[in-house]
């Protein structure tokens, strides 16, 4: 998904606040394995995406990842020998042994799929909320070269998409049928496009580098044109993230957010797990709630 300036409240957050939100969600998704927590992380990200009017474009990427999720749901139950509640017992396969599908293995696959979707959603929020130029400025003072590489990498992606469409069309006009023949010949056809894209990208890279050199890049210490101001809204978002991360980590360390998939599934709803979740969800909903309030109350606008 590519950043589009829409003039939305969530797009005005300080880059550090947006990075903190994304980082916080990803950290919690990687540390915690409880399905309720993972589902909650996914929900808060979807709420932020709704505030960014990016649910539709995000849905496309979710669909793109769907095959991976489906594979996860299919393969893990078949190859994981753990779990006591057997749902299906298959034939004996050499090298793999007896195929069995257990409820626990299915549950584990669902948990991992949730984790994948939560991380993906967090990055979608980042892409929709943060102008790459602002990220560039955030790091431009201290690591200018790395920041420019980052900025160019972000610009390259849409350019590559355009190159792909153009070169594929040109090759079709030369008689290359991308949908005909065996898998090998189809792959060979796509390799032609890849070769064309590589050559075009190298030419483009050289020209951009020349333009940057002519404009004095790398000629000495840089200054920064834009400064980011830290506003109450950024403090609120950061505070929310800190509270959520603290609650999540404490819950994980204390075992409240630890979920055992094997040998039998733990009960999902337990009071000791729900209490930290009651803190984590509203804390991480701060950006979406602020966006909601921003659209409704002038008073809130004047304060944050």
């Amino acid at each position: 998904m590519i950043y589009r300036e829409k003039g939305l409240f969530l797009q005005t957050l300080h880059p550090a606040a947006t990075c903190a939100f994304t980082g916080g969600v990803v950290l919690l998704a990687l540390v915690i394995n409880h399905p309720l927590y993972l589902a909650a992380l996914l929900v808060v990200c979807l709420a932020a995406l709704a505030g960014l009017h990016a649910l539709r474009s995000g849905a496309g990427l979710f669909l793109f990842c769907l095959p991976v999720v489906v594979l996860l749901l299919l393969i893990n139950p078949l190859v994981a020998p753990h779990g006591t509640t057997v749902l299906w017992r298959g034939p004996f396969l050499p090298g793999l042994g007896s195929l069995t599908v257990s409820l626990e293995a299915v549950g584990f696959a669902c948990g991992m799929a949730l984790r994948l979707l939560a991380v993906l959603a967090a990055f979608l929020v980042y892409s929709a909320a943060l102008n790459p130029d602002r990220v560039f400025n955030l790091f431009a003072g201290r690591a200018p070269r790395a920041a420019v590489i980052f900025l160019l990498a972000l610009r390259v992606y849409p350019a590559l998409l355009r190159d792909y469409a153009r070169i594929r069309e040109a090759q079709t006009a030369r008689g290359v049928d991308f949908d005909a023949g065996s898998v090998v010949s189809r792959l060979a056809s796509r390799m032609l496009v890849a070769r064309g894209m590589l050559a075009t990208s190298l030419e483009r890279a050289l020209e951009i580098a020349e333009s940057m050199y002519a404009r004095g890049f790398g000629s000495g210490p840089r200054t920064v044109y834009f400064t980011e101001s830290w506003r109450p809204r950024d403090g609120l978002v950061l505070a929310g993230v800190l509270v959520a991360v603290t609650a999540g980590l404490l819950a994980s360390l204390s075992g409240r957010a630890v979920y055992n998939y094997y040998p039998v599934l733990d009960p999902v709803f337990r009071w000791e797990a729900l209490v930290p979740l009651g803190v984590l969800i509203p804390a991480l909903l701060t950006p979406a709630l602020l966006q909601w309030g921003w659209n409704r109350w002038l008073w809130l606008r004047s304060k944050i």
Binding site: R155, T172, A173, R174, G175, I208, Y213, A214, G220
Partner: protein, 556 residues
């Protein structure tokens, strides 16, 4: 007593060869550019123009490496001895393609990028950014994402980014080659303002001579890496015509070829001369394609509607019949639907509504890859077609894909005169050569219909002539050629029929003289000059008209 001009740039015996280059790109160049001068550099592709521009910007040999000899001084200082930061403050450069120069995502950040590199204070940066954006009329686009701007606006942003650094000299390397006529006109007008109102020293490298020849104080013609001609525009035009070189505006070329000692440089001056000759007896010109009868259509577009995903309606109730065996030009502003129409005829796009019939078959029932043997489509960027290591390899690949006899490759080599490039890497070729190789790759299949999208983009006048002759040769073989172009002069010289698209619909259609008659925007330079005087649109007709009257006037 005249005021002695100050040399801002002095070049003495400049020689340069690129790393791995077969010959020198620049050879024994001696040149000076005065403070506040507008210098136009012209010449054939590969003649050394861009290399000279890069040398002036200090990029040779610093960025590209290679073998550099001679002296290049700016404001009394050796460019090679300047620190990179000083160099960026001394010479600014704007390249051909804006998309390959833009770094940031919004206009304001893009203009500020160079200033940040110079390490300027924030207040100074803000002042310069505001100043330059307002001067170039980009203030209202300050926060706009650069990808939403038109090509002309993007190139203006690149100009703003260079100007904000306040260079002593501004070098522009074919800045309008990727722009439509409107964008190019606006951009060149801006350069004129910069030169006249701010006294900016400008070195402009251009192919669109008719739009900028008269703007220059001096013109330099480079060929083979050497200065062939150097002087005021009129003198260089006369010199070029005397040598049989096509590097003059169409208007100037017409009068020079008709034997006028002082050929005019602009349409306005040309019209004054024509008015004086109008009363003299002469002959009526034939006109391009005049007298040719109706042709049976080879393709038809009927009530076609097409909308791009997330885009505007590109074709709206569009109907047109493609006359067989003719060379047809498709005119229209950016977004008028020219490329979309051609892609429909090639089967690469399917109509949302309506039908497209090509060679008697509905394109919806055909596989576009299989259509390629009978209908060739050459898109705007020939590089998209080329991925092989040699030109011969490219053509052989097409032969295998299109399933034709081996002799087809040799026939194309002969037809296009590509023999000397047989073992060259297509990516190392000039724009014109790439265009020809890509065309060759399509011709191998022996198509009956050729569709070319902006084929003259980035071509110098000599290459345009070669392309025009090639298309005529193909037409003589019975092929139908359809060219979507902004280049009305090219179309006026080579096409017989034309169709004008506007807002996705056909706004005009017929024999070229009929379409051009009375047109202001969609008319050739010659057509504009002769408007209201005689129905003349092409250079050969204009030369005939002028010669007849010139002789009659001389006899009297």
């Amino acid at each position: 007593m005249g005021v002695e001009s100050l040399a801002l740039v002095e070049i003495e015996n400049l020689n340069y060869r690129y790393p791995g280059g077969r010959g020198p790109a620049l050879s024994g160049i001696n040149l000076r550019v005065d403070e506040g001068e507008f210098l136009l550099v012209i010449g054939p592709s590969g003649g050394g123009k861009s290399s000279l521009g890069r040398a002036l910007a200090g990029l040779l040999p610093r960025f590209h490496g290679g073998f550099f000899g001679g002296r290049l001084r700016c404001a009394g200082r050796d460019l090679g001895a300047l620190q990179p930061r000083e160099l960026a403050r001394t010479v600014g450069i704007v390249f051909q393609d804006p998309e390959k120069q833009l770094i940031a995502t919004t206009v304001e950040r893009e203009v500020a990028f160079g200033l940040e590199n110079l390490g300027l204070g924030r207040a100074e940066m803000r002042r310069r950014v505001a100043e330059v954006l307002d001067f170039l009329g980009l203030g209202h686009l300050r926060d706009s994402p650069v990808h939403t701007l038109s090509g002309g606006q993007q190139q203006k942003v690149c100009l703003a980014a260079a100007l904000a650094m306040r260079p002593r000299v501004l070098v522009l390397d074919e800045p309008t080659s990727q722009l439509d006529p409107g964008g190019a006109e606006d951009f060149l007008h801006t350069l004129r303002r910069l030169n006249e109102e701010l006294g900016t020293t400008i070195v402009l490298i251009e192919h669109r001579l008719e739009r900028c020849f008269h703007l220059a104080d001096r013109v330099v013609l480079l060929d083979g890496g050497k200065v062939l001609l150097d002087g005021p525009p009129a003198a260089v035009a006369r010199g070029a015509v005397a040598r049989g070189l096509p590097f003059v505006p169409a208007v100037t070329g017409v009068f020079a070829r008709a034997g006028f000692a002082e050929p005019p440089l602009t349409v306005r001056d040309g019209r004054r001369l024509l008015r004086a000759l109008e009363s003299a007896p002469g002959v009526s010109p034939g006109g391009a394609g005049a007298g040719s009868g109706p042709a049976a259509p080879v393709a038809a577009v009927k009530k076609v509607w097409y909308v791009y995903p997330d885009g505007p309606e590109a074709l709206r109730d569009c109907s047109w019949q493609v006359p067989g065996g003719r060379l047809v030009a498709v005119f229209g502003a950016n977004g008028a639907g020219k490329s979309t129409l051609l892609k429909h005829l090639a089967g690469l796009l399917r109509p949302n509504r309506g039908t497209v019939t090509v060679l008697g078959r509905d394109t919806r029932a055909q596989n576009p890859a299989r259509m390629a043997r009978r209908v060739a489509f050459l898109a705007q960027n020939p590089g998209d077609y080329l991925f092989g290591d040699t030109v011969a390899g490219e053509l052989k690949f097409s032969r295998r894909r299109l399933g034709v006899q081996p002799g087809a490759v040799e026939a194309v080599f002969r037809l296009l005169g590509l023999d000397r490039l047989r073992d060259a890497n297509p990516r190392d070729l000039s724009v014109g050569e790439r265009q020809l190789v890509a065309l060759g790759a399509l011709l191998v299949g022996g198509p009956e219909i050729l569709l070319l999208d902006e084929p003259t983009r980035g071509l110098d006048p000599a290459w345009k002539q070669r392309l025009g002759r090639t298309l005529k040769d193909l037409q003589a073989q019975g092929k139908t050629v359809v060219v979507a172009t902004h280049d009305i002069d090219f179309a006026a010289e080579w096409a017989e029929e034309a169709v004008v698209l506007s807002g996705g619909r056909v706004a005009g259609n017929g024999a070229l003289p009929e379409v051009l008659e009375g047109a202001l925007y969609y008319n050739s330079q010659v057509g504009r000059m002769f408007a209201g005087i005689a129905p003349v649109y092409t250079v050969p007709d204009a030369v005939r008209w002028l010669e007849a009257r010139h002789r009659a006037a001389a006899a009297r």
